[in-house]
């Protein structure tokens, strides 16, 4: 997977064409970056529908802001920053609207067989909900998607060191929440 820090010549050309009004060029950029953008959004919001909303919002914002984008920068990093902001906005709006308390016994469901993926998924889903959006984002981006700490920092607008310590705390929290899973 190409690093989002590398703005390739192709990408620069597409960005310039998109800035010039070419929708085909922008469609190519969408095709190139939508998977990572989805991952970033999904790591923060944790529901498929919200992630999709955040990705669409992110691409719309990016399209509107293309004039302000310098083509020599990596488009992916810039886009993911926008998508992560859209996702965080969505989380904030959800919090205000729903103020839905998490189930207190969310991670204390009986767990019989760690190889049973459905049960593991349920347990993990509940555990991830207990993390803060930033902790979730950091752990998913790093451990699942292979972002570097620097890339996570750029995407979430935090220093690299903060991304590093967030990851440590997120892993510790997740491990704590799933500890009875390990006992079996």
């Amino acid at each position: 997977m190409a690093s989002p820090r590398d703005a390739t010549a192709d990408e620069r050309m597409l960005v310039r064409a998109a800035k010039g009004g070419s929708q085909e060029a922008f469609a190519d950029l969408v095709r190139m970056h939508q998977r990572r953008a989805y991952t970033v959004a999904r790591a923060i919001v944790l529901s498929h529908e919200d992630a999709e909303d955040a990705v669409q919002e992110g691409f719309l914002h990016a399209y509107r802001a293309l004039d302000r984008f310098i083509p020599d920068q990596p488009f992916g990093a810039w886009l993911n920053r926008i998508v992560s902001n859209a996702a965080l906005d969505l989380v904030r709006r959800r919090k205000v609207r729903e103020a839905e308390p998490l189930l207190p016994d969310a991670v204390a469901l009986p767990f019989r067989d760690p190889s049973e993926s459905d049960e593991l998924r349920t347990r993990l889903g509940k555990a991830l909900q207990r993390l803060t959006p930033r902790q979730r984002a950091v752990i998913v981006m790093h451990d699942v998607e292979g972002f570097t700490h620097g890339e996570i920092g750029v995407t979430l607008g935090i220093p690299e060191g903060t991304a590093r310590s967030d990851l440590h705390h997120a892993r510790a929290a997740l491990r704590r929440l799933l500890q009875d899973l390990k006992a079996h």
Binding site: Q23, L60, L120, H168
Partner: protein, 125 residues
């Protein structure tokens, strides 16, 4: 607090990472991405029309304003027509006050003047 401590010692178990990947992957497999791309581009199309759709909210007030404007313009035209129609009469009346009447109308007949002079003489004496 070193990078080594953060990165290697506290790695999550592989099966947890795999489960997380599975949990967070979008439904629909590969076909999903072309669907998402289509939705994004469809939204962009609507954005491109945005400058025009911005005016949609102004449609009703604009119609009301246009109706009022037409009514005012019609009233102004009617008023002007009435003024134009009244102008010859006003001109005629204005002519009577500013211009002397023709001599044949302004000079009294001589016979009438004699009779009045006689009557004035009789009343005075």
């Amino acid at each position: 607090m070193t990078q080594h401590r953060f990165d290697s010692r506290d790695r999550l178990d592989d099966h947890v990472v795999d489960a997380m990947r599975d949990l967070l992957s979008p439904p629909g497999g590969e076909g999903y991405w072309s669907e998402l791309e289509g939705s994004i581009m469809a939204r962009l199309d609507r954005v491109d029309l945005g400058w025009w759709s911005e005016f949609a909210g102004w449609m009703r007030p604009a119609l009301v304003a246009a109706t009022i404007l037409i009514l005012v313009a019609t009233a102004a035209l009617l008023h002007r027509d009435q003024q134009v129609a009244a102008l010859p009469y006003e001109n005629l009346l204005a002519t009577g006050s500013t211009h002397p009447l023709p001599d044949e109308l302004s000079v009294r007949p001589v016979a009438q003047g004699d009779r009045e002079a006689t009557l004035r003489f009789l009343f005075a004496h």
